[in-house]
Symmetry: C4
Subunit: 197 residues, 4 copies
């Protein structure tokens, strides 16, 4: 059945690659008065911010998905459905990203941060559902049981981190976004630390 | 010739993955008065509804396509053309999806539901044409003949289900969409039941 | 070096799949008065026409590309560049398609038909350049020499067919488009005939 | 670990293929007075220019990425992250391309050329970072050490070439773009020379 998970991985990779590449379409060419392109480009910082944040998050999700399927050796219909549920979340990311970009620095900043992180809470839950299903239905490679236990503990943290961003957004939207950035840096920079944390 | 169907599958997977991921581009960032983003996001429920429905339908079609090509062992030019015809239907889905989203809750709701389900009737017919061609031209793996017979019976039902949605749309558009939702849940939730129904 | 052409094929397949799937994005949801969605959908026939035509042409190009690389066994840098040149043409197709759709039935119909077929003349020439390079630099599988000669003769016809559509467009734009449709049907329907013609 | 780099390559190829194909979406159908489509199409030369330039640059980056991973035999988490950083740059290309197309021939031409080339300076630096990491952490195939040394020397030139375009843009935007075209032709036409330069 290894071929089976290979095709799931290839299909999932395709959807991750497309979702992450579509993010750039949400950054529009600014219309500007003649001679003021620099200012117009700089004024679009919320779009760049949201693009970078979502790029890192989708990139990290791809690496986690990759690692997960390194452990999964067998597949069945339910796993296919749970994986599609996860991919549903991933492909939706360009929309909350665009909502965040459009509302940073406006009175709706808090709502946008709540919505953005809410989508990631759901995706992180889907990650856990998929992984726990694979664990409890013995779809894993037996020889990797110790690192599987590590993954279980790590993934369980995910939804809480994004939920914390949501709670923070009620207090202060900027603090919430600062935590988002910290998470992205934590995810992107020290892979050895993330793996052992 | 196994390599041959492998490349068809890879190309088809690519098109399924792109079509399903492009669906999100039809959901636009709402323009809203300051402070009313929540309301503006909620007002877009038809877009989310249509996105989810089409995501499930394309996802299920991908799983069915996958299963079909698990049975098909040989390929020829006509199979390539029939598969492209099926993919023509799949790649078109973002358009009826957007039409449905734009017209839910308006006087054109019925027309949109008819158009939406009409496209799926055509796709379901293309599925049957492809499968029957493979069966009648001995392109299947002989060892899987019994499950092939099961597939033949299941696929034959597909066009009628979407046609029933069309008929219902003449009576009541909401009833038609409720049946669409029921179909999506039936497809997505109990894969064991679907396989044995 | 078989791995080498495998990766070229996979990359090319990806670009074919994306270009063909992006075509649907050029069909926009019509804005219509309440209750007149049917009429509004029907009024968009030029978009559907152009979509179907380009879908068939890209689909056929993919099958031809596939067949070509079944014969090519070795690769080098120049082949990579010539293949990218061909893919440049393929990825450009959504633009002339949209131009054609926007101008069917207007005084600019002829210009649009000329532009549309002009792009395909260029693509067909790129096909021949790539193929002739592979033939003349001994990159082909020796055991397939007879079918390679057949391909050489078939591909040489391609640019002339689209050029004929261009010439016809000067006489009558509708006649030119009718020939386009005839070509598409000829390509799509009888693969055995196409192969032996 | 060869499988490991295979999946990185497949994912990277997917993102290259999508980014290069999305470029065409930035070329919009011109709105024109009846009978003046030819003029309207010609007036869009900046869009075609920017499309062709970016197509060549992404195509060349894909070939270089390809060559780089022909030498890389082992992978680790840091390599994954550095590769995603490079892909971040690649997927961003449609945006500076559209900015360039929108501002060619306007007073903002210089700013657009600076921004465009600035993005490529960053991408070229990411290329070097990835490659140097692979070299210094012994992830390369030992048998290819001599051609690896050649690659190191070639890649080191990349950022300087785009930086030179930036410097030129301060003097004269058109000279800068002429150098961009010369670079593209140099990259695209003589692969043997590029390899040995």
């Amino acid at each position: 059945m290894e071929t089976e998970t290979n095709r799931i991985e290839a299909f999932s990779d395709g959807m991750f690659a497309i979702a992450i590449t579509l993010l750039i379409l949400e950054i529009k060419v600014p219309s500007s008065d003649p001679g003021s392109l620099t200012k117009a480009l700089l004024r679009q910082w919320p779009s760049y911010f949201a693009f970078l944040l979502s790029f890192v998050y989708i990139g990290v999700m791809w690496m986690n998905h990759h690692r997960m399927f390194n452990h999964i050796r067998r597949s069945n219909d339910t796993l296919l459905v749970l994986n599609l549920l996860l991919l549903l979340g991933v492909t939706a990311v360009p929309f909350p990203t665009a909502v965040l970009a459009a509302n940073l620095g406006t009175p709706d900043q808090r709502t946008a941060a709540l919505f953005y992180n809410g989508v990631f809470v759901v995706i992180a839950i889907f990650f856990n559902v998929l992984w726990r299903y694979a664990v409890s239905h013995q779809l894993l490679d037996k020889s990797l049981e110790s690192s599987a236990a590590l993954i279980s503990r790590q993934y369980a943290v995910g939804p809480w981190m994004y939920a914390l961003c949501m709670v923070l957004a009620f207090v202060d939207a900027r603090a919430s976004l600062a935590l988002n950035v910290a998470l992205a840096i934590f995810f992107a920079l020290p892979p050895h630390l993330v793996r052992r944390s």
